[in-house]
Amino acid sequence: MIPSINITDREKITTADKVWALAFSIVAGLFFIGLIFLAFGVNPVFAIAKIFTGSFGSMYGIKETVTKAIPLILIGVGLAIAFRAKFWNIGAESQLLMGAIFGTWVGLNWGPHLPAPVIVPLMFFAGFVGGAFWGLIPAFLKIKFAINEVISTLMMNYICAEFLTFLIVGPWKGKTKFGFPYTDDLPASATLGLIPGSRIHYATLILALLTVAVLGMVIYKTRFGYEVRVIGENPEAARYAGIDFFKTTLIIMAISGGVAGFAGVGEVAGLHHYLSYPDSISSGYGFTAIIVAWLAKLNPFFVIIASIFFAGILVGGDAIQISLGLPAATVEIFNGTLLVFLIMGDYFLKHKVRFVAEPRTGHQTTKPLKTG
């Protein structure tokens, strides 16, 4: 008997199904990660345990996890909106950087003359403008010239990273930095307060949570949110319904890029206090946030949970680097494998896959299978 695979669409998907699929994906993913570790001679139980104890197992770990969750929440929620409209924004990494550039310019130039309550909102505003500006270019290119946004946003990442490097080694190079390629420090009024004993810049955290609340409302409760969903699910129908494709796409990308710009300002004003190389301003948050948005099923509120989860993996990744001497890229194994298993979980959630024994022709020894 040759078993064949019978695939049908699942008709009803309950919340319990979704939770099971998610839990199964994560557990199966971790198991597979364990196998990879085993293959390279790393104790899998120890490594995986270390990832989670390193991030959630100590006060220090939890604080660091929250710190790294801040940019992920901001970018993740912006991507969730863009992805809903099927706009594949791979450029959040540089939208963050552009936000950091704009915010830092405002901080450096106006900071010395203005008090914190004025300059900090101004910096965030500038960051939003910077990120939105950088996000609008690929949106415009897509609508006007049918240029694929995956490619254009990717190209924009490189252009922005080079531009930032140009600024810090060239015109913006700090006079107080002994020739290092950094800008000068932001004036004290233009830096963000930290929760004592941690690196959590709470102003950005509050901004991130507010952004989630506002965008969650927009997606689920407004006409605009409805239009975004229609554009993503059925562009034909959107056209018939008279939805302005041009305008909606531009607004989506202004928001998606803008909130990534918030994250950039938060990283500079909250943690670094000066601009430096692109890799140190953002450790790939723009890419990690893509998985965050995906894990959250493009739901802004779930983005918070998913961000904390992946921030934990980032922090835990640092921990295993130190304690097990593993390379920095190890954390990518976690991200990549979990993503693959999430894709699989999603498939099995939407489809019923059954192995069925092919009924033999000729002589029937068993009762015929029930159909339906």
Binding site: I36, F37, F40, V42, W88, I90, L141, K144, F145, A146, I147, N148, V150, I151, S152, L154, M155, M156, Y158, I159, E162, F163, T165, F166, V169, G170, F287, I290, I291, W294, G325, L326, P327, A328, A329, T330, V331, E332, I333, F334, N335, G336, T337, L339, V340, I343, M344, D346, Y347
Partner: protein, 303 residues
């Protein structure tokens, strides 16, 4: 001076060309593979490890090709069998490839190879003044790329297999109706793309540098994806594009002493790609030659 610049341009362009040929084949079948960076990195580490132990760079090259094919199956499974979003699963492949190669390569960081893939001077031809040194005294990777680009072009444009690959990317339903197994074609194209990316990785680790460090692909996989579009899905145009991009790499170092910011030069390939897309988009988007179903999952029996 000029001879050395041109020669270095070709050397820098070779891994880009190899990767781009693979991505062109893959995308022509309708599958966008953003995993090139990860696959290249995996190929690089596989080539290094095998060469390190066997002292035979050719075995290293084989290992890289094999590793590239094997890891690409992940993307094939996700995007073809599971009809998942290709952007997401491509990114997953990049992450996995970078992660696994980082882990596998850890013990080899900073170790030199006893034998690198040597340059081969082609008899007689390499004696031609100037040209000989530029074109005929290069690494085997260069010669292979130079042969494989027209071969891939011929395969895609003039063979039965090529027609099947292209029609899988243009109209999978009609292709399936002709009795072609679209899933199989797409699996094959993705895996073939993986083989090329693996080769490109081997080029970096056992020929270009002769060492392994984490992150040695340095974004070349993403450049390959840009180049694929720059070349408008044509392996012959990829030949021109890859060496053009390679030339910009070399120029960055040359023009730096003249006070021209290397960062602006480094932007050029990316701005160039956008401009090419823009110019063609302005003229006629149909001439873009993009596979019509690029990035669209295909499910058998669905209209």
């Amino acid at each position: 001076m000029i001879v050395s610049v041109v020669r270095r341009t070709l050397i820098a362009g070779t891994p880009l060309l190899l990767g781009t040929i693979g991505e062109v084949i893959c995308e022509r079948s309708g599958i966008l593979n953003l995993g090139v960076e990860g696959v290249m990195s995996t190929g690089a580490v596989a080539a290094f490890m095998v060469t390190f132990y066997t002292h035979n760079p050719w075995l290293g090259l084989m290992a890289a090709i094999l590793a590239g094919m094997v890891i690409s199956v992940i993307h094939a499974f996700a995007s073809v069998s599971l009809q998942s979003n290709q952007v997401v699963s491509g990114l997953a492949l990049t992450m996995l490839g970078l992660g696994i190669s980082g882990l596998a390569g850890k013990p080899f960081v900073g170790k030199p190879l006893s034998v690198k893939m040597h340059d081969y001077a082609i008899p007689y031809l390499s004696d031609i003044p100037y040209l000989g040194e530029i074109f005929f005294d290069q690494s085997p990777f260069f010669y292979m790329a130079l042969v494989l680009a027209p071969a891939a072009w011929f395969m895609l444009d003039y063979t039965d297999l090529g027609i099947k690959i292209r029609s899988a990317g243009e109209n999978p339903q009609a292709t399936e109706a002709q009795g072609v197994n679209v899933s199989l074609i797409r699996y094959g194209s993705i895996i073939a793309g993986g083989a090329f990316s693996g080769m490109a990785g081997a080029n970096l680790s056992i020929s270009y540098s002769g060492s392994w460090i984490e992150g040695m692909t340095a974004g070349r996989g993403w450049i390959v994806i840009a180049l694929t579009i720059f070349a408008l899905w044509n392996p012959m145009r990829a030949l021109v594009g890859a060496f053009l991009f390679g030339g910009i790499f070399v120029l960055q170092y040359l023009l730096q002493p003249l006070g021209i910011s290397p960062n602006f030069l480094a932007m050029l390939p990316y701005i160039g790609t956008l401009l090419v897309l823009l110019v063609i988009g302005l003229k006629d988007s149909r001439k873009l030659n993009a596979p019509a179903m690029l990035g669209e999952p295909y499910r058998r029996g669905e209209r």
